[in-house]
Symmetry: C2
């Protein structure tokens, strides 16, 4: 198909397609004549992946490029591809400020407690430590106690991620890497969205002041809530 | 203290302090003379909260302002303050594109299954539905099956959040709202960081191809890993 048909099928503008070609995110089509280039369904699939990473996953063009290069390089060991994806997906959260030794030690203690073993460059550790620093900076060291429950949730989610990778089967390398990368990039959004829903539900169940939902004392019954927020 | 001392104590530049004063994120100091303004420890605490929301939580100045206004307004019912915080913290993930009816129906089914009750405007639902759309767009409808594990993790995390709110006690309203807001804004980073650590650990335990860690078949023993990634 021509670039115009590719644009229509993928719902990506011709200008964007040309940009992705120039930046090396999208592989070139086949020249059918001096002035014509042919694209096929692999280009449609690739454009959808690019848009999922950028629009839904929130990756920068540079991060998406690094991640796609890792998917494409068949010679790259999967654990390296995985590391590249982790760093690319996490880049937007990175900061140059060094967390305190106290918070880094707390992250190390959590890792030891859970038996989590990682390389020293794991991008998650400074992020966690910086949040712990922020809790202390605002006078809320008590919030550090949130960490074990969050760690348990992170374990749950990453086990599910890995199960989805294993189900693909280890014989299809590029699909396996794609699963890891997509799960990582879109999984953050999936979790954040679900957390918002669970938060609102639990806040209402607790009957926070100002809410019209009050739990009957001494009962474990969940109150019925109609869409206007009135307890039945 | 003078603005220069406030800057030193809070580690925020004088220019930024003036900006936050002008934008209404920071309340004014007390005029001690025609040319002098006095600040106190409440200003230091507020500046730390502003920086935690913006630098660590990733909120825009406008979102931080909305959230701080909700903390300050004693007349605002807590559930409304909670809703404002949810929308402000989620704004960066929002998009104008409407998710498909199919994905919205899947989110509704999950809510029914878990007994999650929310208002229709909960900001999490379109985010989740858009991720499900992205899974399908890239030809990976199988990844929709990640949702139940992520939902379980979201439930765990939001219960921990709410416990930390309840521990504050319902008599200190502004501290309670602050706990909700800070937990929401910084909790995303806390979870994302921990997820990166758990991901790497679990990927290594699974012995993905290219990793040097191989699980002994028929045993449940976790292999020992040294920092270079070699199984013992």
């Amino acid at each position: 198909m021509r670039i115009s048909a590719l644009s229509e099928q993928s719902d990506v503008t011709v200008a964007s397609i040309k940009f992705y070609l120039r930046e090396g995110l999208l592989f070139a089509g086949e020249s059918s004549s001096a002035t014509q280039t042919e694209y096929d369904t692999r280009h449609v699939a690739r454009l959808r992946l690019i848009r999922a990473l950028i629009d839904v996953g929130g990756l920068s063009v540079a991060a998406a490029k690094a991640v796609l290069a890792a998917i494409d390089d068949d010679a790259m060991p999967i654990v390296y591809a995985f590391g590249i994806a982790q760093h690319a997906v996490t880049a937007s959260l990175a900061s140059s400020s060094r967390p305190s030794d106290e918070s880094l030690a707390e992250v190390a203690a959590l890792k030891a407690e859970r038996g989590w073993q990682t390389f020293e460059e794991n991008p998650g550790e400074p992020i966690v430590a910086r949040v712990l620093d922020a809790f202390r900076a605002i006078g809320r060291p008590d919030l550090v106690e949130l960490m074990p429950a969050y760690a348990e949730a992170a374990e749950l989610v990453s086990r599910a991620d890995l199960r989805s990778v294993v189900e693909v089967g280890t014989d299809d390398r590029s699909r396996m890497v794609e699963t890891v990368v997509v799960g990582m990039a879109l999984g953050d959004g999936l979790f954040t969205g679900l957390r918002r829903i669970a938060q609102e539900h639990n806040a209402r169940q607790l009957g926070l002041p100002g809410s019209s939902i009050v739990r009957e004392p001494g009962t474990d019954q969940e109150p019925e809530i109609d869409p206007k927020g009135n307890a039945s």
